[in-house]
Amino acid sequence: MSSNRINWFKYSSPATFYPLAGKLAPWFTAIAVILIMVGLYMGFFVAPTDYKQGEGYRIIFVHVPASWMSMFIYLVMAFWAAMGLVFNTRMSGMMVQSLAPTGAMFTFLALWTGAFWGKPMWGTWWVWDARLTSELILFFLYIGYIALHSSIDDNRRADRATAILVLVGVVNIPIIYYSVQWWNTLHQGASVSVKSGSSMASVMLISMLIMAFAFWAYTIAISLARVRSIILERERDKQWVSELPEIKQ
């Protein structure tokens, strides 16, 4: 048991992860750039014009993958938060910290593109649609995480406190989503629910998936880069950091 634990600790130690992240980040950056170019090309030039919504619908190639990512990233954060609380590994908290800004960014992107889509489709920038409202609340949860983390000076304490917050949030998300939907059906107003999926052309679906993968690669690349700077900041007094070639110069 105890030797097992030490192995874990070494495996997830910042000193070994730092160079690994450095090696992986450029690859994911390249993948992200290529996929985004392919996805945008397919979405804007290959996919057919929607007979009902015209050209304006093309924003969904950014909107839908962004809102997927906004939820996935929160789940990934919750996974790392749980790992950090259970195994007390140092890297977990840094992973959560490095993912949060990207998650918040995608949530904001989803809200923003949603508003842009809503204007021509529904004639208004904002509709109290269940999905939009849940997305807004998710955005608040991200902001809450970032605010809590930045107001605690001790990084270890910040990691543990925010891990609890993220886990509480992840339990709440389905409840919030469900209650917002209930609320929405009760207040059925002029909002048009957009049924996508079944009626969508396969080219559209493929472009959307490509964009989703592109965002994945982007998320991995940017959070690896971010986690590297978090490691450097937190471990600046450690010997292995001072022995790094880029520090020595």
Partner: protein, 211 residues
């Protein structure tokens, strides 16, 4: 009884102490020494389970204290910098609540007696907020007289006390150690013990050695 192995505590980005190890048996007193900021308080708070060490284990009767919180809490009494008493409650009320939470069954007569012994005669029924620093400290220290726990962890217990109270507390501590109790304390005073063993541990040196 109490064993500390390879303990490391990090506060902020700074490691306060690491590879710290010692053990304490019945009838022993450990006197923690060290300059300000050397981690004496942090060590005490780690020993009572409030602070999670970043590495290493504190074990009590051969078992990690973090795996037996309630059992360990029953056998340990920690008095920190803060007195842990409510300013709006009287000395008796405070002591009654604290002893109930400690799992003790103490009658009101006993409470009054103990407070009298601590030199708080005539102040038992006043809100603690109006008492002086030293008197507040005495209310908090009155728990020692009620305690049935073998292990006492005392952080600067003599602060704010006058000479008479310091002498009284010295005898209380000495008696506890003589009755096979264990005490770990931080203080700038010399601790006099008639019998029993006084160990010393100095923190904040380049290398933290065993006792």
């Amino acid at each position: 009884m109490l064993e500390v192995n390879n303990l490391e505590v990090i506060r902020g980005d700074r490691s306060l102490f690491s590879e710290l190890g010692f053990s304490l048996n019945t009838g022993e007193l450990l006197h923690l020494l060290g300059h300000n900021g050397s981690g004496k308080t942090t060590l005490l708070r780690t020993l009572c389970g409030l602070i999670k060490p970043s590495q290493g284990v504190v074990s009590w009767k051969g078992m990690n204290i973090r795996r037996q919180r309630d059992e360990f809490a029953l056998e340990m009494l920690f008095l920190g910098h803060l007195n842990g008493i409510k300013a709006d409650l009287t000395a008796v009320e405070n002591l009654r609540i604290l002893s109930r939470l400690d799992g003790l069954d103490v009658s009101d007569d006993e409470l009054w007696q103990v407070l009298e012994k601590m030199g708080l005669y005539g102040h038992e029924d006043l809100a603690v907020g109006v008492l002086s620093q030293g008197q507040k400290r005495r209310v908090s220290l009155a728990r020692l007289l009620l305690s049935k726990s073998p292990l006492w962890l005392l952080d600067e217990p003599f602060t704010a006390l006058d000479k008479a109270a310091v002498d009284f507390l010295q005898t209380v501590i000495a008696e506890h150690v003589e009755n096979d109790g264990m005490v770990i304390l931080t203080t700038h005073q010399d601790v006099g013990l008639t019998t029993g063993e006084v160990k010393q541990l100095r923190l904040g040196w380049k290398k933290d050695g065993d006792v």
